[in-house]
């Protein structure tokens, strides 16, 4: 089963989506609408977002591309809900920068609280998986708490969704094809098999430091194949058996409108 949050017919709804793409609200109402309909506005799929953990340099090949040694322990940084936006929504490119790239990532959504969780029990704490695009602006990188908040904490730069797939429906999260297209052209073609630190490892690691709670998310990093994105580009991040996340880039002025 898949789970999402949408606005449909003027109502904000929590929905379940079955194997035949039939949409049912959590109140049991069947919605007569197709999944790809423009009548659906997709919201970020986690209803009460908690702490968002994101991994850097977590694919062997990506590490090579960026001329870094693969890390001996995970590089993890924190994001908050201001960065989230949904499927088929917009993300912005700041003015006067040279390089902003997408990062297609598998996301594990935490479903119950835990501390000192063992690796072999970790998936019991995962409600499901979704896809995010953890955009980065390389111009803003500084060597202090890198990747710093100016790079990774901007409004709208973490599209997520469209839905969460139950953990039980993904028997092996490390055998999934991962691709990104920009304006229909394939630019990233990888597999979650190349992940350095997998979800159970990261849950064990983080929960030795701190309590994980429902609504926390772990974004697991991206493989090689990152390219600059410009306003007007449409970026689609896809992870096999999980979902495809579409984002349209806009300028900073278009995004902020009157507040620009």
């Amino acid at each position: 089963m898949r789970h999402a949050r949408i606005i449909f017919d003027g109502r904000e709804l929590d929905i379940d989506i079955d194997a035949n793409d039939r949409i049912t609200t959590t109140e049991g109402e069947v919605l007569d609408v197709a999944l790809d309909s423009d009548q659906i506005t997709w919201l970020p799929p986690v209803k009460a977002p908690g702490t968002i953990f994101a991994l850097g340099i977590n694919y062997a090949d990506h590490a090579t591309e960026l001329a870094f040694e693969p890390p001996k322990e995970p590089l993890i940084f924190i994001k908050h809900a201001n960065t989230l936006t949904g499927h088929k929504q917009v993300s912005y490119r700041p003015d006067n920068i040279d390089y902003q790239h997408y990062e297609c990532e598998l996301v594990a959504v935490i479903g119950k609280s835990g501390k000192n969780i063992k690796r072999e029990d970790a998936l019991d704490y995962v409600a499901g998986y979704t896809v995010c695009n953890d955009f980065a602006i390389r111009d803003y990188l500084e060597n202090y708490y890198r990747p710093n908040l100016r790079v990774k904490s901007r409004d709208s730069l973490l599209p997520m969704g469209p839905w969460i797939v139950d953990t039980a429906d993904i028997p092996d999260a490390n055998a999934l094809k991962l691709t990104t297209t920009v304006n229909g052209k394939l630019t990233q073609d990888g597999t979650t098999k190349d992940m350095i630190f997998d979800v159970p490892f990261v849950i064990e690691y983080l929960s030795k430091i701190m309590t994980l709670n429902p609504g926390d998310m772990i974004c697991t990093g991206t493989p090689h194949g990152i390219v600059d994105c410009q306003p007007g580009d449409t970026i689609v991040c896809t992870i096999e058996d999980v979902c495809s996340l579409e984002t349209r880039m806009v300028s900073e002025q278009e995004y902020y409108g009157d507040k620009y």
Partner: protein, 222 residues
């Protein structure tokens, strides 16, 4: 998570905002891995599992083998509580967006490095008490004129005049609001004394700002 925390959704902390600390580390920051001193405020989050309240016990941290860590340190900051949605505001108008002020204590492992996000050091459960209350913004005429003191077991260990911050409260609000839209109840801890104070199990830690209050917490593990 503490149910009655004063924080809504986000606690942003500013590291390296003590001019004396920046000056002392200047040579270090010109070498690898930093290569040059920071050009922007150095920010980190204390996530929701860290938020706590006045009077609460702060857990003594464990290492990765499950043993008590050898050292913890404490810092204290003025906490600026956002009063209304704050998006891309100028420094001149920034203080109009402040709803009130409080105190943020930051318990952590010693700040050994600023190169990578310090999840191990900064994200410990209950390590960010905030309080004792929120004082309305109109009660504090000049936040940058305040002084933050930190005492351990009744002995004063640290005095930080906010006039010695590299960036002022208004400048920080403006810069941060151009990274992220801030919401009412979100808090910015604007600056800590560069020298964090070593604490041991069972210590009583008192963070105080005249006109804002006193935040009392006790280290666990005793």
């Amino acid at each position: 998570m503490t149910a009655n925390t004063l924080v809504n959704s986000k606690l942003v902390c500013v590291a390296l905002n003590d001019k004396a600390q920046l000056a002392a580390l200047d040579a270090t920051f010109n070498e690898a891995p930093y290569k040059k001193p920071p050009t922007q405020p150095v920010l980190y989050y204390k996530p929701r599992n860290t938020w706590s309240v006045d009077g609460a016990e702060v857990e003594w941290a464990k290492d990765f083998d499950g043993n008590d860590v050898a050292e913890m340190v404490a810092g204290a900051s003025l906490g600026v509580v956002i009063g209304k949605e704050t998006c891309r505001v100028s420094a001149e108008e920034a203080l109009d967006y402040v709803g009130g002020y409080t105190i943020v204590s930051d318990f952590s492992l010693p700040e050994a490095s600023y190169y990578r996000p310090d999840i191990k050091g900064k994200c410990l459960d209950t390590s960010a008490p905030v309080g004792p209350e929120i004082v309305a913004a109109d009660k504090i005429a000049a936040p940058d004129a305040l002084t933050v003191t930190l005492s351990v077991n009744g002995e004063q260990k640290s005095v930080f005049e906010l006039a010695n911050m590299e960036r002022s409260v208004a400048e920080l609000i403006s810069i941060i609001s151009r990274i992220m839209t801030l919401q009412p109840g979100e808090i910015i801890a604007v600056g800590f004394a560069g020298d964090r104070v070593a604490v041991t199990k069972g210590d009583k830690v008192e963070a105080s700002i005249e006109g804002v209050g006193t935040l009392n917490n006790t280290l666990g593990g005793a």
